[in-house]
Every structure is written in structure tokens, then in C-alpha cells.
């Protein structure tokens, strides 16, 4: 556990340094920049790009989580059971759609900017969360459900105090999957004029400035890895607390 913690702190420190003090890395990136070309991306501040990137992902993921979990709850109630096969077909077919294609197809319908990116992130994010929430809510141990009923809990209490807490690690697994995909897709969102960290990478690709590509790539990669790791930790903690681990 110890070396993992040290590595984590080191990566967070590196990420903060890359975002807040990019000038400090001039000598590191200099060999990759073209002769006399700029080494550090200065067209807009990396901090504001990071915040806008993370903001897009956060808004889309929160909205996707709310909608997907609500839908999964509805579909796993007796009244909504009729929609279960259809919703399964939609998630199965939907997940074969490449995220980039969803983004590209959102542009003709919604124009350029943050809008289509947000919609694409939201739509694509729904699927893994819905799938996992449905699995989590429909594979609860029968004995526990029976006990909850025996305690005299009504439907709402069962949902809030038994079903959702027990299904939480599985639901969180879906959220993690969709956040990681959203972080990657948001990067590509800069090709449709959303303000994200992808801008730095694309600027580097367009001017063959590898220093920019590396700078943007490192920051996005570190964000993704650290967020993924944090969600995995949370999942392990919840699983342990549920006594399923």
C-alpha cells in the first residue's frame, strides 16, 4: 500500500506542477519543440482549459448518472419490467457506436462548441451506468431483500436503504467506465471547438510541435489515471463496507 501512496502523491504533484507552473518544464520539453518555436503552450492558460475540460466531464457524468440510475430503478420495478428487453437492446446496440462517431454525428444536429460535446458525452455516458445499475439492482441477494421486507421496510425505504447502497459498488463501476470514456471523448471535443485540453494536443499536431503534444497528452493522461484510481479506491471501500469483498 505504501509505495502506491507515494506514487499517487508524486503523480498529483507532477500534474499540479504541469498545470499551474508550465514554464518550469521549458527545459524538459525544449528538445521536442521545433527550432525557435514556442515550447510551452501559452495561447490560453492550462488551468482554465483543465477546469473547462473537467467541468464538461463532470456536468455530463452527473446528468448521465442521474438519468441512467433513475431509468434503471424504473426498469427493475415490477411496473417497468416490460421495458427491460428494449432497454437492454438499446444499451447493447448503443455501446457499439464509437464515442467519436457519436460526437461527430452530434455536430450536424447541434452545431459547433461545447453543446454537441456535452450531448455526446451525456448520451454515451448513459449506457455503461445504466447497464451496471440494472445489473446491480437485479442481482441483489434474495435473502437480504426478504429480510428487508420482514423488517417492515416499505418500498422507498427498501430502495434507499437496502437496494441502492448494496448496488452502489457496481453502479460506481459503470460511472468509472463512463467518466474515463468521457475524459477521452472530451479531448477530441476540441476538434468541434469545445474548450478542452485536447486543444493543446491538436495545436501541437497542426504545427508539428511535439512539445505541445507531449504537454497536453501528459496532463490529460494524468487526469484520467488519477480520477480512475480515485474511483477504484472508492469502489473497493464501498465493497468492503458492504461485506461483499
Amino acid at each position: 500500500m505504501k509505495p502506491g501512496m507515494i506514487l499517487r502523491v508524486a503523480l498529483i504533484a507532477l500534474l499540479l506542477a504541469l498545470v499551474l507552473k508550465p514554464e518550469a518544464f521549458t527545459s524538459v520539453f525544449a528538445p521536442f519543440a521545433p527550432e525557435k518555436g514556442p515550447v510551452i503552450y501559452t495561447r490560453s492558460s492550462l488551468l482554465s482549459l483543465s477546469l473547462s475540460h473537467l467541468g464538461l466531464v463532470a456536468v455530463a457524468s452527473v446528468a448521465a448518472t442521474l438519468v441512467a440510475v433513475t431509468l434503471a430503478i424504473l426498469v427493475t420495478r415490477p411496473a417497468g419490467a416490460a421495458f427491460r428487453p428494449l432497454s437492454r437492446t438499446i444499451t447493447n446496440v448503443g455501446q457499439t457506436f464509437p464515442p467519436v462517431a457519436v460526437l461527430a454525428l452530434a455536430v450536424p444536429a447541434l452545431g459547433f462548441g461545447a453543446g454537441p460535446t456535452l450531448v455526446a458525452l451525456f448520451l454515451y455516458g448513459l449506457l455503461p451506468i445504466f447497464e451496471n445499475a440494472m445489473t446491480g439492482l437485479s442481482t441483489l441477494p434474495a435473502a437480504t431483500m426478504e429480510a428487508a421486507r420482514g423488517l417492515g421496510l416499505d418500498r422507498w425505504q427498501r430502495l434507499w436503504r437496502v437496494e441502492l447502497p448494496l448496488a452502489m459498488p457496481v453502479i460506481l463501476g459503470g460511472i468509472r467506465l463512463s467518466v474515463v470514456i468521457a475524459l477521452g471523448t472530451a479531448t477530441i471535443g476540441s476538434t468541434v471547438a469545445a474548450r478542452t485540453l485536447g486543444e493543446v494536443i491538436i495545436a501541437g499536431l497542426l504545427t508539428s510541435n511535439t512539445a505541445f503534444v507531449l504537454q497536453g497528452g501528459l496532463i490529460v493522461g494524468l487526469f484520467a489515471v488519477l480520477i480512475h484510481d480515485a474511483l477504484v479506491q472508492l469502489e473497493t471501500y464501498l465493497t468492503k463496507r458492504n461485506g461483499r469483498g
Binding site: L105, A109, V220
Partner: protein, 347 residues
């Protein structure tokens, strides 16, 4: 508007077919009726589209373009989902599904080749770029299938070693899942300086076509993404072999290698193939990003289209990618089912 997009006779006929199709297709119940309904609706939609396109272009000059708007695409999506749902309800066996898939692809190709849709702007974009489209399709397939092959060649042995050796498993799987979290654009970007340096440092690498941009970085990035599903599913599949089967094989006097080839791998095959399905679908999607680093494929159309705000060009890249991913998913599902069925008939 819908009603004045084409001569009124065709609009009424197509609209009635569409409405009847939806009415038959949406209510739950008899899957065959729903399948028929969705087919009828599709036929109606395409009929209106074709009639509408030629009517709109009539006397509008050579440069005029007609393209379906969001409503038509949504209807198409809804009808396709209805069809998929009805088919899922029928639950055909793997062979029947292969037949259905072939039938649908033939119908799609016939529709495209017959020229009935050639008035639509996406198809005009296609005709003006036929050669580029063909090479993009081949490049896209080469990227997706080639990286799958390379990942399988590396991933299977690695997976078998991981199955045998817990320490290696503990080290390899976290590294591979770490690789998979890196956003694709960042991964493709980071490959560029690494491969550029390799090409500069070693003439041998340059001779086999390794360069900072183009095919090589895209290919290697895709292989790296593909490794986790291959290795993880190989390990899971091998770990799930029933101990009784291994015991029986040992009792028959099989050597370790024989057990692996004749017992463990065949039993693990469905899980391994499910891993390959994930890889294939994922890589067909990710190969689009190769368009940004000069790797070719359908991505080059998508990003050209995005740069020039040319919707038809975006569609020309995105639609075949979606079709390719769907076909790959269906084919791999069929293979998984077939692999699952093999061991059972044995007495």
C-alpha cells in the same frame, strides 16, 4: 415540411407505410409482427427519402444538394432499434443470425449500388471520392484487424503466463488497465515523439515503415489499448476451467501442454472470444482518431468534415464506422455462441 417534400401521392403512400410500420412495430408482443412493422416502416422512410430527393432536385441546378435532416435520421434509428429488439425477442441461433446478417448486408449493398439513393448528398460525396473511400475503408480495417491480430499474438501467451504466475498477473494487469485509461488522443500524441525518436535512431525501424506520424503510431496505440481485454479475458477464461475437467485430463495422462491445448483453451474459448469482441468494436471506434495523426481510415473524412463544417463528409466517415462496428459486434457474438456450443454435444 414532410408533406411537401415530394409529390403528394408518394408522401401519402410512404407516410402510411411509415405510420403503419410504427403502429405494428412499437406495441409489445408478437416479435414477427414487430419485425414486419419495422421493415415496412423502413421501406416507407426510404421511399419518401428517394421520392423527396428527386422531387427537390428537379430543376434546382447541378450544384443543389439534398440531405435528410435530423428527423429522418432519428426515425431511421428508431426503426433500426425496433428491428433489433424484435430480432432479439425472436432469439435466433448463431447460424440463423449469420444468415440474417448476410441478408441485411446484401440488401444494404443492393440499395447503395442500385443508385436509388444517389440523389442524397452523402452519396454524392461518396461518388466524388470513391477511390479515397476505398483506401480509407481498407486502412480502417487494416488498423482495426491488424491491431487485433498483434494484440492476440502478444496477449494470449501473456495471458497464459499470467494464469500460471500470480506475481506476473499482479504486475501486468494493473499496468495494462493503466494504459487503457489514457485518453486516446493523448496516447496517439505520446506515440509520435517515441516512434519519431525510434525512426531517427535506427535505420532498421525506419525501413519497416516506423515513423512519427501515420500508420505506425496509430497501430501501436491500438495494440496497447487492445492488450487489456485480451489478457484479462484469457486469464478469466483459464481460471474458470472446472477443476474436475483438469483433474480428468491429468488422470488421462495428458502433459501440461496437452492439457492447455486440448482442455483449458477450448473451455476458455467463449470468454477469450468475448475479449476479442470488446477489442474489435473498441478499435474500430478508436481507429477514427488515427485520422488526426495522418493514419488514414474513416477518421480522415470525419476530421476533414469537421474542419470544413461539411456535414456530408462527417457522415461519410461516421456512418461506415458505425456500420463496421455493428457488423463486427454481431459477427463476434455469433462466434462466441458457436464456441460455447462446441463442447456440449460431446457425450
Amino acid at each position: 415540411m414532410f408533406w411537401d417534400c415530394a409529390p403528394s401521392g408518394s408522401v401519402i403512400a410512404g407516410g402510411v407505410a411509415l405510420a403503419a410500420g410504427l403502429a405494428l412495430g412499437i406495441p409489445a408482443g408478437a416479435p414477427l409482427r414487430r419485425l414486419g412493422g419495422s421493415l415496412l416502416g423502413l421501406a416507407g422512410l426510404i421511399f419518401v427519402l428517394v421520392q423527396g430527393a428527386s422531387a427537390q432536385l428537379d430543376g434546382a441546378g447541378d450544384l443543389a444538394r439534398v440531405s435528410p435532416a435530423a428527423g429522418a435520421w432519428c426515425l431511421l434509428l428508431v426503426l433500426m432499434l425496433l428491428m433489433a429488439d424484435a430480432l432479439a425477442q425472436l432469439n435466433p441461433g448463431p447460424r440463423a443470425r449469420a444468415g440474417l446478417l448476410a441478408l441485411m448486408l446484401v440488401a444494404l449493398l443492393a440499395l447503395l449500388w442500385s443508385g436509388t439513393l444517389s440523389d442524397l448528398s452523402v452519396m454524392q460525396e461518396f461518388t466524388s471520392r470513391k477511390n479515397a473511400f476505398r483506401s480509407a475503408a481498407l486502412r480502417h480495417l487494416a488498423l482495426a484487424l491488424g491491431s487485433l491480430g498483434a494484440a492476440a499474438a502478444i496477449g494470449f501467451p501473456l495471458g497464459i503466463l499470467c494464469h500460471r504466475n500470480a506475481a506476473l498477473r499482479g504486475a501486468a494487469l494493473p499496468v495494462l488497465s493503466f494504459l487503457q485509461t489514457i485518453p486516446s488522443l493523448a496516447m496517439f500524441g505520446i506515440m509520435i515523439p517515441i516512434l519519431g525518436w525510434l525512426a531517427a535512431a535506427s535505420p532498421a525501424a525506419r525501413a519497416i515503415g516506423i515513423a512519427g506520424i501515420g500508420f505506425a503510431p496509430a497501430f501501436i496505440a491500438l495494440v496497447l489499448y487492445a492488450l487489456l481485454p485480451v489478457v484479462a479475458n484469457t486469464v478469466t477464461g483459464l481460471a474458470a476451467t472446472p477443476p474436475a475437467a483438469i483433474e480428468a485430463a491429468r488422470g488421462m495422462g495428458m502433459t501440461g501442454a496437452q492439457r492447455l491445448w486440448k482442455v483449458e483453451l477450448p473451455l476458455a474459448m467463449p470468454v477469450i472470444l468475448a475479449g476479442l469482441r470488446i477489442v474489435l468494436v473498441q478499435n474500430i471506434g478508436l481507429a477514427v482518431i488515427a485520422g488526426l495523426i495522418g493514419g488514414g481510415g474513416f477518421g480522415s473524412f470525419v476530421f476533414q468534415g469537421l474542419n470544413q463544417t461539411a456535414t456530408d463528409l462527417i457522415l461519410l466517415g461516421a456512418l461506415p464506422t458505425v456500420v463496421m462496428a455493428l457488423v463486427a459486434a454481431i459477427v463476434m457474438d455469433i462466434l462466441v455462441d458457436l464456441a460455447r456450443r462446441i463442447p456440449e454435444p460431446l457425450p
